[in-house]
Structure formats: C-alpha cells, structure tokens
Symmetry: C2
C-alpha cells in the first residue's frame, strides 16, 4: 500500500463504460437536490406516501452477542459446539435487543419514517458510515477517492457491473473453472467467457499474460477483453486462495493491458488457512484485530493505485443471505454509473434490510463485528477440518505435490477405498480398491470441497466418457440420499463427454451437521464401491 501522502485519485477509466453504461440518465429529479434539506422547505415533487400510512409502528430484533462463538479452537467451548447449539434452548443464547420506532428522537437516528420511505439508491447514511469505516480499516484501498455504494447482493451487483462496462460481443476474462451463476448473468447479454488457466492459487498470471500478449482479434472474433472477473478467495469451485504476490502480478498485467478487475469476494472472511491432519493440529489462539486483518490475504483494493478494481462485498456469508445486501468499492466514476443503474432497477436495498443490518452493526460496533468475523472464520475452519477428517477416516489418503493443472504448486490428496473389514480374497474386481478414485486439494477458504474423479478404470469409461460418467455417479449418490453439485457446470466453456479429466463434484461443508457430513462421506464410499463394479 502507498502511504497516505502518496495516494492519488483514480485515473480516468471512463472509456471502459459500455454503451448502456454511458447512456444511463441522470435522474430528472437531480435538479431539485440543491433545494433539499433547506429548513422549512415544502417538497411536493416526489410521490411519497405519508409515513402515517406505514402499517409498522416499530420493528425489533434480538441479536446474538458478537462473542457468541469462541475464538480458540480445540477448547471445550468450541469443537463442534456450533452443532449442539442448534438444539439448545434460545434462552441459553446471549442476546442484545434493539427497537426502531416510526419517528426518531434525534435527527439522523434510524427510524421507520425514513427507513421505510423511498430513499436514495445509495442507501441510508448510518449504514454507509459503517461500511466506509470498515472498508478503510480492513481493505485499505490504495487511491484516495475510493467510493462505496450499497447493492442488493453480489449477484445483482455483478449483473449491474456487466451492464455498465461490457458490450454485447465482448469477451470476459475468467478462470477456466468459474462460478456458473456469474456466467449466467453475462452470457445471455452476449458476453463471451474467455478462460485462463489456473494453478493452486487460482488464476495463473503466466497464462493471463500469454492470453493477452497473443490475442488475435480476427481469430477470436472479438477485441481483446478489457474486463476480468475473479473470485480470488475461496475460488468457486476450487476453494483456492490467491495471495498478494499473485494479485500483484495480475494487477500489473491489468495496468499494462488496461483491464478492469471485478473482484467478487463473498468468502473473504472464510479464510480457513492450510489444512493440517488431525494428529498434527494445534490449538488456534486469539489474535488482536490488526493481526487478524494482516493474517488475511489482502483484497485487490490494497494494490489498486489506479482505481481499476470494482470490488463486490456481500453480507450474505457474514450476516445472512436473506439480507440481500452488500456494497461496491470502486472509483467515483463507476460508482456514479452504477448508482444510475440502481435508480432505474433495484432502487435502494430493502428498508427492512438496511434497518436490520445497520442496527446490528451499530449495536456491535466495529470491534464487535471484528470479533464476530474472527470467530466465524474459526467455525468454518473447524467445519472444513471435520469434513476432511471424515475423508481421512473413510478412505486411504495419499498426499502428492502437484506440478500441473489447477492444483499446481500444492499438495493433492488422492483417495482410494479401504478394504472392508470382512474383506478376504483379492478378486479381479477389487483392483479398484488399490486405485485412487478421486483426489482433492484441501480448500484454504470458502465453503466447498472440489473433488476430482478418476474413473478411468470404470467398466463403462470408454463408452460413456468423463462427463456422462460424472452424471451417472452423481445420480447414484443422489439416489442414495446425498446431493453434490455436478462439476461440469463450473467449467467456463461447455464440457463434452470426451473432454479429458473433467469429472468433478463440488461439495459444501457449510450447512450440515457433523452426522450429515460423516454420513455423506460414508455414502460416497459405499456408492463408489458398487459403482466401480458395474
């Protein structure tokens, strides 16, 4: 990061705006704003219902104390206590309460009169103050005039970003394995995914540079892409975490080739770190807030001295998905265009959402939210560890350093079936037991384990191919009562049956009980045992 005195404003990047992004009109009511807020002003310009007709007199919430989850792993207090909490009586939870009435006592306080009224697409001032403080302290953007703008969740934020900076027929740089919903927002608008090779940190800077340097507009049928979409932490689906060195390489390439980086980062606070097998695991101990922030892979914002990053943050993973609330951090020119887009579509995020999330964060304060995030990371680490421990119990795991593909640079765990207890003779069909049937890299962030299947020994492999065999196995596991996400949908371009190496499952460990996670792994083992025989 540049020191404060060295930070400049964002450079002019307005040539990246799409035709639609440029055309979004300034609100026709903008001319009225110079009069707004004048004492005694009578505004009869907008179509606002009177707050007396809002049928809510007050809304209240009971919120968890920010220290509801432990900060130390392995202690009696933690260690899957989250699981048992689900069944504990609510009165055992320590809670705080708040109430927001229709009319506030002090100007600027949250109230329903304003909170449930039409509002600026840029959201409630109280919420914006909290968000701005948070971004400054946690992500530390490297230019001076960075701006935040609330949005209604990263999916909508990405959809608005696509409209604002991409024209039909243009390319969009993505990792070769990528988040399919992001592609589903862009592709119907005529945007073409342009995949870049990956290694164990996610997108490869070497592949990116090669792609751009060798870009042949006429062969590709489109100009060199000027937008890059990335999920750098808890890469979806591989679970990779990109460190600062790689980010710097990619950022510098984007400066060189004038590319806008859209950083979709829902799993930022779910940085679980390296997986350590149970026997070698140490107790995690508490750290102060600054050390906690420093321990996280930084955002692209920290490198962004030009203002060419549009960062998407969401409360979905740290508060709740139903909030449908998040925010952009970007330069003021993009923020203004995105706000105009919001004015003509979503408008402001839900008033109820803004009231609840603002009340929560104001009640907790910055320190409380940090306390919550530290504990949340630990909860996800324990979930991840527990899930992988189940694999270690159920399968033979063998660790090998990978040097190629999306796992290059890290250890891959190869899994093979353990012999059954009643196992006696080694028949021809039992050869499968010795072979690795799948492999994975322990995810270092996020909610997912990304399983790569090795089904070449399956009797129907030659006739069915990778993709059909993936679906055949997926269906058998589903019929046995366990749902994974089939892997083919995560590939940036269509996967054919004979595309080599593309049998995968994405498996979530974020929302199940330990029993369910354990049962899912043993079901996989049981199904695989039969599957390999016919």
């Amino acid at each position: 990061m540049l020191s404060n005195e060295k930070r400049g404003d964002a450079v002019d990047l307005s040539h990246h705006l799409s035709k639609v992004g440029q055309a979004r009109l300034t609100s026709p009511l903008k001319g009225l704003q110079k009069y707004m807020g004048k004492p005694g002003l009578i505004s009869l310009a907008g179509g606002l219902p009177n707050a007396a007709y809002f049928p809510f007199s007050s809304v209240s919430g009971e919120i968890l104390a920010p220290d509801s989850f432990p900060l130390e792993s392995g202690s009696e207090k933690s260690s899957l206590s989250w699981f048992w909490r689900l069944f504990s009586k609510p009165d055992k939870e320590r809670t705080l309460t708040f109430t927001v009435g229709k009319y506030s006592q002090h100007p600027g306080d949250l109230d329903l009169e304003n909170g449930l009224q039409y509002g600026m697409a840029s959201g409630q001032p109280k919420l914006n103050e909290v968000i701005r403080e948070f971004v400054g302290k946690v992500f530390q953007p490297s230019y001076s005039n960075w701006t935040t703008l609330v949005h209604t969740g990263n999916t909508d934020a990405w959809s608005k970003t696509v409209q604002t900076i991409l024209n039909p027929g243009e390319g969009l740089i993505v990792s070769e394995w990528t988040y399919p919903s992001a592609m589903a927002s862009a592709q119907p608008l005529g945007i073409n995914p342009v995949p870049v090779g990956m290694d164990s940190e996610g997108m490869s800077s070497v592949s990116l540079r090669q792609l751009l340097a060798e870009w042949d507009e006429s062969a590709r049928g489109m100009p060199r892409p000027h937008v890059l979409y990335t999920v750098p932490i808890g890469q979806n689906p591989t679970g990779a975490t990109m460190g600062i060195q790689r980010k710097k390489e990619i950022y510098d390439i984007c400066v060189e080739y004038d590319i806008i980086i859209v950083e979709d980062d829902p799993y930022y606070f779910l940085q679980e770190g390296k997986y350590v097998p149970k026997s070698e695991r140490l107790v995690e101990s508490n750290t102060d807030d600054e050390a906690f922030i420093a321990s996280l892979a930084p955002s692209y914002l920290k490198l962004d001295y030009q203002g060419r990053v549009i960062r998407l943050d969401t409360f979905s993973k740290t508060v709740c998905p139903g909030s449908r609330l998040g925010w952009f951090t970007c330069n003021p020119m993009f923020a203004e265009r995105l706000e105009r887009t919001a004015e003509t579509s979503s408008q402001a995020p839900s008033g109820f959402t803004q009231i609840y999330v603002a009340s929560l964060l104001l009640k907790w304060k910055y320190e409380g939210y940090m306390r919550w995030l530290k504990a949340l990371r630990l909860q996800y680490r324990q979930r991840r560890d527990y899930f992988l421990d189940c694999f270690a119990d159920e399968f033979h795991l063998q660790k090998t350093l990978s040097t190629e593909g999306y796992t290059a640079g890290t250890h891959v765990y190869y899994a093979s079936l353990k012999p059954k207890r009643s196992f006696v003779p080694l028949s021809e069909k039992d050869v499968a037991y010795a072979k690795s049937l799948f492999s994975f890299v322990p995810p270092s962030s996020g909610m997912f384990l990304w399983l790569e299947l090795h089904l070449e020994e399956h009797p129907s492999f030659k006739s069915l191919g990778y993709k059909a065999l993936e679906m055949k196995l997926w269906t058998e596991i589903a019929e046995a009562g366990v749902l994974f996400a089939p892997g083919a949908m995560f590939f940036a371009t269509p996967v054919e049956d004979d595309t080599p190496g593309y049998g995968h499952f994405r498996i979530s460990f974020s929302n199940s009980t330990p029993e369910e996670l354990k049962k899912a792994v043993s079901t996989l083992s049981t199904v695989l045992r039969n599957f390999m025989k016919n």
Copy 2:
C-alpha cells in the same frame, strides 16, 4: 370476465421474447430439484451458511390494526384526523405484534432459518399464497393459468420486463405524457418511446389504432412496436383513471396487432373518484368488500383472456416503499423467463421484507387488508379534496368542459388570481388578474395534481418560450420554499422551448401536512402575482 368454465389457458406469446429474454439460462442447479425435500436427504450442493451463524435470534414487529383509519369521511373521527395522528403518542395507536424466531415450531411457519437463508427467486411460499388469493379475488384474471411472481418493486420489475421482451432498436408505445423513470429504464437499452395521444381517461384508443394502422416501418426506422407501457390508474403525471370500456378498446386493439400490455399500476387502490367541491360534498359511507372491489376501475387482467398482460403490483403505496416488494401477474411463460432474470440479478426479495410483509398480511388476513385499503383510499381522497379546496380558496376557479388534448371529455378548472383585499384601481399590469394563469383536471386517482400553465401573457413569453418560462417560474417557487416537479420531464419525447402548451408542474399531495399544502398554494399565488409583472 369470462365465466370459469369458459376460461382457457394463455395463448402462445413466446415470439415476444427478446434475444436476452430467450437466452436466460435455466439454473444449472435445476436438475437437483427432483431430489429436494426427500426425507433424510443430505444436500451439500449449494453454498448455504448455517442458520446458527445468522446473528438474529428473532425479529418482531408492532403493526397497526387494520381498522386504524376510519371508513367514513366527514365524521369527527376522520376529517384530517390523519394529520393529528402524526403527533399523537404511539400508545394511542392500536397495534398488533408478531415475532418470528429462528426455528419454527410447525413446518411451513415463517422462521429466520429459512426466511434469512438463500431462497428461490420466486419467494416464500406463505407470501405467495397470500398474493395469489389476493389477485384471484381482486383482479380476477380471465384466463386459467395466470401466475404470480414476486419482484423487488415496480421499477425493478419494469426493468426486468424491458430486458425480457424488448430488443434494442424497438419501439415502446407510451402515453404522450408518461412516467419518466420508466423511460429512464428503457431508453439506455436502445428502446424508443412511441407516444400516443391522450384524453381525460389516459391513452386514446382512437390515437392508438391510428398509430398502428398507419405505421410506416421505413419512415419510422423501426418495426411496428409490440409492447405497450401504461399506468392506467392515477396516470403519472395527469392523474387520469381509465375505465373498463377504454381498457376493452385498447385490449382489443392489442389482440388485433399482437401487442403485449405492461400494466404498471401502483395507484390502483388510490382511486379517489370524482372531485366534488366542498359545498356539495356528501359523507362517504362504508361498503362491503365486494362492493369496494366492484367500485374500482378493473385491471386489464379482468379482460385478458389471452394472457398478453404483464401486470406490475407493488406494496410501496399500500404498505411502504421501503419494502421494495411487489409481484408480477402474467402468463407462465413470461413468469418463467422473468424468474430466470431474477435468478441472475436480484435473486429473491430481501428476507426481512418477505418476513415483515408476509407477517403483516397473515396477521391482518385478507379481510383486514381490504379494511386497510378501503380506509387508505379515503385518506387519499380527503387529501386530494383538501388540496383542491385550498386552490378554490386561493384562486378564482372556473369549470369548463374540455373537448381536446389530454383533458378532452372532462371538466377543466381554470384558475385566475383573486384581487388582493387592498386592491383598489385596475391598472394595466393587473390585467393578469382576470386571466387564467393555470388550469387542472382534478385527479381521480393517485398522488398528484397536474397543473398546466398559461403564461402567454408573461412579458418574456415571446423571448423565452414555454419550457424556459416553466423553469423560470419553477425556480421562483422553489426559491420561495416550495418544490414542485417540473413538467417537461414527463413528456415522452424531448420538449423544446417553443413547443406550444408545454408548461406544467406535477404536484404531490400525498405526504404533507394540511398546513404545508395550504402554504404551498398560497406561495404559488404570491409568486405568480409577482412573476406575471416581470
């Protein structure tokens, strides 16, 4: 309406889908749905955080009783009592309370575990049940397989509709005076407004037929439009209400020319009816629910035997704008495409919003909501009447039956300045007093009075023209502390300074105290008095 046995399904209208509307992908997780809900299923497919990590233990609301406002005008209980209520102590309000906890006691009940989780873009089942019952009873669609789909407010709904059924370069049929925000959503996407003349019921069916019959594709530079946008009740800005006969004429033309009608109807329940001067006004008495529904101009849905209407409803005017919640009613083919669009943008409406609006409507029940809507209409009627009474007190009003332009077919009130009390001699400059300076049609629905200015006698009229003079007067009124919405922005195509007859203000009576409304009218009078002299 056709009788039940005669109702058929919607006809095939899929040729109206835009390129983008057609291209929206089916969610890649759709294949998983056949397994969802199976007892004992372990789903590790989605990226759902565990509800234990939602920091809300419970949320509560205090809601107004559905009979909080009176059903009879003129009684001591009503008659601007809404104004005094604002300053009454909250404990005088009769309220009901509800609480939604994290885990529900009975399956299907509202809870935070599901309500704040990721959910289907189609929203919570409980909310959908209420909405479906409401549409069936109130709007009574004339085909059998009509569908409702929640959305995040009519602005977003319209934006999604534009994307789904309009291609860049196509035309969009609108009234010549129209809602500028709707145009601001469509025009940046390359959609061209095609204005149709109006009379006192809104869009003229005669003008519409003529436009379509005489459409010359090469002269117009675009094919004949296949989409019509309309605000038929409380037309924005004119406040007109379109009755069933006119709707039938327009619907039949749309069948003949194969046009989709998008009915944006936020003011449906603000049908205030005909304005009756104070001296002739009668006491309004209560009616039962069926008579109330029958007294309202019907929706296009009631005529829509083919499923070619996409109706947009919102809770913004009947509950609160901050809910950012409403619903589409349309045929299942459009609903499916709109749901796919929501999946890749807004996703589901805010969980907090869904919980609060569903809790309110479940607590009130259908009858309670009807009770609320009946009283709300009366509140707005009293506001409208009070505001027009202020004009009658402040100005000389003269009623004339209009036969042309957007007022054709109704009485127009022409306003001229009353002489000041201290008025003695009739000087040359006082000629203005005798002239009508503005006119209006009392709005029969909605929130707005639409003022037409007659400034031809102004000393600078010849040099400035209509538009600049409108802005000059607007600015003087704003400087005097009252904000109106300038009229030029409501014209479907750009207004030039010399476009005859286009000085207007749109003035809202929905959100001000009686004192403010009265003061606004006297300010207008004071400013006009000076304005006409220089």
